[in-house]
Symmetry: none
Subunit: 186 residues, 4 copies
DNA sequence: ATTTAACCGAGACGGTACGTCCCGTCTTTAC
DNA sequence: GTAAAGACGGGACGTACCGTCTCGGTTAAAT
């Protein structure tokens, strides 16, 4: 039995307009700008409406994470090639903002709402995951794969997030090779 | 020729009281709590005085970096031992907040005042520096040392800052060994 | 087509509470006390709300002038009687503050916001106007009426505003008689 | 026995510089501008020094009243001529600021410091006084003289202070004639 | 020449009010 | 029931001035 009246939740276009603007704001001005007030002035959607549907910072970032998920590169089969491809993919993403900016924003958002920390953890884990998968496919044990992923990807994240340097692909590729050769002792 | 009048800058005790409380706040409640208002209510020093001497977030973080600098462990001579000691030191610091908390705070402060980014870069560079020095002493070339420092320390930073995990010392020590053996071709 | 949403402007009771208190403050403590801060502590209405609706001193005084206008006595027909009645009315008002206090306040408010000068001029002109009207009715020419009004009322204003003396009704009545007799040449 | 040491009170030039600037400020920007802070920025004399010698608004206005006293016109002997001359003198003064501005300022200063009210009263009384003297010399009784002074001078004050109009000399002269003829019935 | 008292400037400090901004909740109206 | 417009209280922000104070260095009289 259907309840009468208008279905709950934001109208589709309202949600689209607001979340698009939110992502835009997040990437250009950082997490601090992601307030109902700002969204109202930017989108014209009324402050009241924004509050109704996304009552907390968490709700926003959470919605955005769903809108802009991290899609891993698709494996071609050869672990070595896949690994190098994944490294390049991550470097590009960190440089071109979609991921780098989002990560920056997530880190900053935690300062405002601690609950976001969980989203940050998941987001970073998602970034590291492809490396682990590929290393497993290459014959590494689970802990070996985790270590390898950390060794390859972490420096890239540190450079992009903490040092504001371009990620050093060369080093990452060398590390990858080193790890792969360590796996096939023959 | 001396100018007349009272010497400029905060009286010694004022500076001490405020900066001590600031560090305390930073480590216990995070960077978001480090506001003039909070410092006033916590220390009793008047809001006006706080603004007078530390008008910007940058001024604060900068003063704190000077108050609580990162002191590297003192090298004992044997590169291998030194490297492992330095790893343990960093892990301890990241766990016990003095460094981990401060780093968190620096990252958050950048969201408010971009000028802090420069302090963050320097702070992180200071964290990585000891590793580079030791690796150079162990016979690595300059780029090799930089790479090695990144490979060893970055995962620790990522775990502490982005994943909220305890740093995985084991992996760090293994990486260190791997790198050291790579250096001595014998 | 009507716009949706709540009608603009302060809710009726808010306006009433604030303006009542404002008038009260004005008359008891003088114009210097008429600040948003004072009104907040006195009425309990939040400082923000006060600023929202009366952003400037001018807005306040202006609203008060509308709330407490100067109502002339109603003419009974006989110019001589009317004139003397009007004199007594003005003297009473100057003594009992409603007008005297308000005038004081207007003068003081000009020091803060020059735009109030216009309100002051109008207010004083409104005070002098009844005298002119009555003198015209008694047969005076327009300039004669203006002069007469000035001669009769000005000393009262000076005494109340500048000398802090009770207005000297006797002199005012004598001046009035003198002027009236000057008008009837017989 | 004289005490040794430097004599108390401000050095002559300090007092001169500050009071000159104070008068200037008072006339150009009104009483609200007459603060230690402003005087410091204008004269370069340190805030501390200003506070030392003129601790209250009252002290300032009081010092200024002594610096710029109201000097009555000198009587020539003939009451009629003297009276008209005095009227012109007052009108000129009200127009040319020295007196008009000062009076404005005095009125405003009362709002800040009620003690100034006494100075205002005296100042206004000093303005009215010449008229009374001359009328007495013309044969008026004391109350008659007071009334006459009020009738002649008050409208001028009201016009200058409350209506921002140029004082109407014509009316004042006519009033004077009227009063003088009333005195010599013969 | 030395006292000695006061001047003077620079600035710290606590306090209060200012005017602004954003937050989060609520109420009123229109669709 | 959604949406818009806006009132409202609350809190922090950063600024400005106030009045008091402490600290140095200077100056002018009286001894």
């Amino acid at each position: 039995m259907n309840r009468p009246g208008r279905p709950a939740g934001p109208a589709d276009d309202t949600a689209a307009v607001v979340l698009t603007a939110a992502l835009e704001l997040l990437l250009t001005e950082g997490a601090a700008a992601l307030t109902p007030q700002r969204l109202h002035t930017v989108t014209g959607v009324s402050r009241t409406t924004v509050y109704r549907h996304w009552p907390s910072p968490y709700a926003f970032v959470s919605a955005l994470v769903d809108v802009a998920p991290v899609r891993p590169g698709e494996p071609a089969g050869d672990p070595a090639n896949d690994l190098h491809a994944e490294i390049d993919l991550l470097c590009d993403r960190l440089r071109d903002r979609p991921v780098g900016g989002f990560l920056h924003a997530l880190v900053a958002a935690v300062a405002v709402d601690p609950a976001v920390a969980e989203l940050r953890r998941r987001y970073v884990a998602d970034l590291l995951h492809p490396f682990r998968t590929i290393l497993r496919a290459a014959g590494a044990s689970e802990p070996e794969a985790a270590d390898g992923a950390a060794v390859i990807a972490s420096p890239l994240l540190v450079e992009a997030l903490l040092l504001d340097t371009d990620a050093d692909r060369g080093r990452a590729h060398r590390s990858a090779d080193l790890i792969l050769t360590g796996l096939v002792p023959a």
